[in-house]
Structure formats: C-alpha cells, structure tokens
C-alpha cells in the first residue's frame, strides 16, 4: 500500500521542495537589487523630497504643477552635478524619517540647518539664509508694536538685544501664537515664549495662516521669505510684519539640503554645486524671482 500512496504525492513534494529555495533566492536577489540602488555610492539618479505646501519655496501652482524656489534650484543643482533628479513630495511631519528609511535620497524643503536635525541627517552648506518674523492682522492691537532693534541674532545676546527680546516677550504676554509643527518657529516659540503666551501647533503652514486670518491667533512666527511675497500681494493686505528679523539660536544657520548621515559624499556634491550657483548669481536670480528679495546665503 505504501508505494501506491507515494507516487502521486511524492512528485508534488519534490516540486514544492524545489520551489521554496527558488522563491527565496528571487526574493533575496530583489532585496539586494533594491538595497544596492538605495546605498549606491556613485550617484546617477536620486530622489529629492520636498513638502509641496510651502510657497514660494515649494508648492503646487493653480494648474497642479510642483513649482517654487526649491524646485528650480534642485533642477539647477542636479544639472551641475550631472545627476538625474526625481522630485517627490512628502508631508512635512515625517520628512526626515522618510529620508532615513531610504524613500528618497535628499530633502530640499526650506529646511533650516539646526543642531537637533544635525543629529539625524547631514546637511550640505546653506543655499539660503532668511530671517524669521512675527505676522499679525492689521486690526490686531499687536500691529502697532515696534521693536527697538531691526535685527535680532539669538546667539551671544548683547544687552541691547536682550532688551529687544524682553520688549517682544512683554508685548506677546498672554497672546495666542501659532506655529507649524517641528519647525524652527515652533522651537523658538516653545523656548522663548512658552511660559508667557499660549502656543498652538499646526500640521500645515496654511492652517496657521488661516487661523491668523480668522482671528483665532494673535500672531504667528514665520519665515520672511514666505511672508514678504504674500504681504506684497493682494491676498496679504490684511497682514503686517512686526518685531525684529530674527536669526541664529533655534533658527539655526541657514537653509540647506539634507541627506542621510552616511551619504557625506552626496552632501559634498550638493555643497560644491551650491557654491558654484552662489558665485555665478543663479541663486540670487532665483531668490528675487520667487521671494522678491535676495535670500542668498553668504558665500
């Protein structure tokens, strides 16, 4: 009885036994192929992530096309580096995690170079440097606030700067202030205003703007390159910029391209390309085109 039973089922077993290692082999090959692509040292083709929700840096225009300063500059830098770049969009919260998980190879999304972020990623040199400011509605009492100083650098604070900072904190006491999550603005608001004012944190910059417009926020902390073009336009006639132009400290040291920690070579390639773009005035030209003023980082 035993051999009769073996014949039909025996064949099936041999096929099964052969199939398992083959499937395993194919899986391993595919995995290695992907890994090799993700960790390749010589860069031919990379994916650059941007947020796509932060005009004029990177956003979708009315026809649904991804445009902005970051996009134009990314194309320009990739041309200089002789790399084929694909630009993808990723929600701001989680954009660093996506980079480190290998979903893309670089981030160009108006990301400021800050100490906490340097623990997670490597930055190229800065390609832009823009101060941050407070924005209020013109009908808010805060609109009449005048800072004793025009510029405020938050590292090595001088007595005059301390006085300006105190005046600012005093004016904002008990007010409701909005910031986008995980931005330098949130870092600044938490550190300097957290004990004096109510800080509200939003996922998107445009929600912060909407809340300010509807009067639920007294003020917001925002990037100057983002706000100056808005305020100059018809859309921004209700808003005004107050307070000093703030840099340094939690605001970091300029805006750079972020890559994975182990890809120092890619960061260096970006830095060289940015140097060249700063020298020949490409970045200045793009900045004036998109921001209406020059945001070039110092060479």
């Amino acid at each position: 009885m035993a051999p009769a039973q073996l014949t039909p089922y025996g064949n099936g077993n041999t096929i099964k036994q052969m199939r398992t290692p083959r499937v395993l082999l194919i899986t391993v090959v595919i995995c290695i192929a992907f890994l090799a692509q993700a960790f390749a040292g010589d860069w031919k083709k990379i994916k650059v992530a941007t947020e796509g929700a932060y005009p004029p840096w990177n956003y979708y225009d009315k026809s649904g096309k991804l445009v902005g300063f970051d996009i134009e500059l990314a194309k320009n830098l990739c041309g200089r580096m002789n790399i084929e770049c694909e630009i993808v969009t990723q929600k701001w919260r989680g954009i660093i995690k996506g980079l480190n998980q290998g979903q893309y190879d670089a981030i160009m999304a108006a990301m400021s170079i800050t100490e906490p972020r340097k623990k997670l990623v490597t930055f190229s040199r800065s390609y832009a440097d823009t101060p941050n400011i407070f924005v209020v509605r013109k009908d808010n009492p805060l609109a009449s606030f005048r800072s004793p100083l025009e510029h405020l650098t938050l590292d090595d604070i001088s007595p005059a700067e301390q006085a300006a900072l105190d005046a600012l904190i005093n004016a904002l006491k008990g007010k409701v202030i909005g910031v986008q999550v995980a931005t330098i603005n949130q870092k600044f608001a938490d550190a300097y205003l957290g004990e004096h004012a109510e800080i509200r944190i939003y996922d998107f910059q445009h929600t912060v703007d909407l809340e300010l417009y509807q009067g639920r926020l007294d003020a917001l902390v925002g990037g100057m390159a983002y706000w100056v073009p808005i305020i100059k336009s018809e859309q921004g006639k209700e808003y005004t910029i107050i307070g000093p132009q703030m840099t340094g400290g939690p605001f970091g040291s300029g805006i750079g391209v972020a890559v994975r920690k182990k890809n120092q070579d890619l960061a260096d390639m970006f830095s060289t390309a940015i140097d060249a773009a700063l020298r020949d005035g490409t970045i200045k030209k793009l900045a004036i085109e998109w921001f209406t003023f020059d945001t070039s980082a110092p060479q």
């Binding site: 999550v181 995980a182 949130q186 938490d190 509200r200 944190i201 939003y202 909407l210 809340e211 509807q214 009067g215 639920r216």
Partner: protein, 230 residues
C-alpha cells in the same frame, strides 16, 4: 521606550484628560437632550412630523464626524457675516466648535438608538396602559419612555464609548485633549510611540470605567429581566 518623557509631560496629559472628560460629558448631555425630541418625532407615524428628524439623523450618521467638525471650525470662519455676528463669540473658540459638532453628532446616533427602541416597545404594554385609561402623554411618560431608556442602555453604552474615541478629533483643532496632548508631546520630543501609547492607555482607562458604569446601570435597571436568585 522613553518613559521619562511621559513622566515629565504627565501634567499635560492630565490637563488633556480633564478636557477630554469635560468635553465628552457635556457633548453627551447636550446630545441626549436633543436626541429625545428627535427620537419621539422620528418614531411618529405622521410622515410630516418624522421627515425632518429622520433627515437630521441621516445627515449626521451619513457624514464623518471629522467633516462635521471641520465644517463648523474652519468653515464658519470663512463667512464674513458669521465673523461679524455674535455667533463668532462661540465659533471663534475651538472648544465651542468641538462641543457643537460632537453634540449634534451624538444627537443623531442617540436619536436613532432611541427611535428604534421606542418603535419596539411591546405593544401589550401600551395596550395595557390604554385599557387602564391613561392619556397619550401619560403612556409616553409612564410606560414608553422609561422602558425605552432601559432597553436602550447597552446600545447607548456603545455610543458613549464611540463619543469618547471620537472626541480625540478635537486634538486636530488645537484643543489640548488627550490626543492633543499626545500630539504636543510628540511634536516637542519626537517620540510618537511613547506619546500616543500614553494617550491610548488613558482612553483605555476611561473606557474601562464607562463599561463598568454601564454594567452597574444594567444590573440595576435590568433587574426585572434576570432570573430570580434563589
């Protein structure tokens, strides 16, 4: 696991817990008060009387709570007329917007629960009341409504838990409820797992109390349904 972050932020979580509880209880109270007339009208045999409450129930059960809340919170502020009127005093506050959205939503669901139980009142009970010479109002007050509330208990317990969990949406419109607190802790410390599991444990604890409370309530009001203990 970075438990220290959670311990450091415990006051924020407790503040969130308080907000969640206050928000859920007030929405449930307002919602229940709205649900009773809605259910009575929806259970009416008069087509004209039941049309509007039925449409209300259909609308609030047919659209997501998130959509309703965003329509009230972001949508209302869009209209200059609303912002200029006394209504803005209410709608300017995120808290009031959430309360309105939650109360209207739970009124829809609770209304439907009550409508179903009202319609399923055993006809014998109503006939008995009629034969005792009770008026319509008396029948509702003495027979139908008390029996409805009793029989609706388990389904309503479910609705209370749904409302608790639905209330986490308030964290999306700047309210520091349990979920809002978790979002802030995450935003400041970049520890999503720890921040959200902590909020989850608080929700679990509240749900446990709700379940326990409804069990006690059912034990009390369903006593007549239990087999007699010897």
């Amino acid at each position: 696991m970075d438990i220290q972050v959670i311990i450091d932020n415990l006051p924020l979580y407790l503040q969130g817990l308080r907000t969640t509880i206050v928000l859920v209880i007030s929405s449930l109270l307002v919602g229940l008060c709205l649900a009773i007339p809605i259910a009575l009208l929806a259970a009416s045999k008069n087509k004209w009387a039941s049309a509007l409450p039925k449409a209300y129930i259909y609308f609030f059960r047919g659209t997501p709570l998130l959509v309703q809340m965003f329509m009230i919170y972001h949508g209302m502020g869009q209209f200059e007329a609303v912002r200029a009127s006394f209504l803005w005093v209410i709608f300017q506050e995120a808290w009031a917007c959430a309360l309105v959205a939650f109360a209207l939503n739970t009124a829809g669901y609770t209304g439907e629960i009550l409508r179903g139980t009202i319609e399923q009142t055993p006809y014998g009970e109503v006939e008995a009341a009629k034969s005792c010479g009770m008026s319509n109002a008396q029948i509702y007050r003495r027979i139908i409504l008390p029996s409805t509330f009793r029989r609706a208990l388990p389904a309503y317990g479910n609705e209370v838990i749904f409302m608790l969990h639905g209330s986490s949406l308030a964290g999306l419109i700047t309210i520091v409820d349990l979920f809002g607190a978790a979002k802030i802790v995450n935003a400041r410390n970049f520890v999503p797992f720890e921040s959200f599991i902590a909020a989850g444990l608080f929700y679990l604890a509240i749900t446990f109390m709700i379940v326990w409370g409804f069990k006690k309530a059912e034990h009390h009001w369903h006593a007549y349904l239990r087999p007699r203990e010897s």
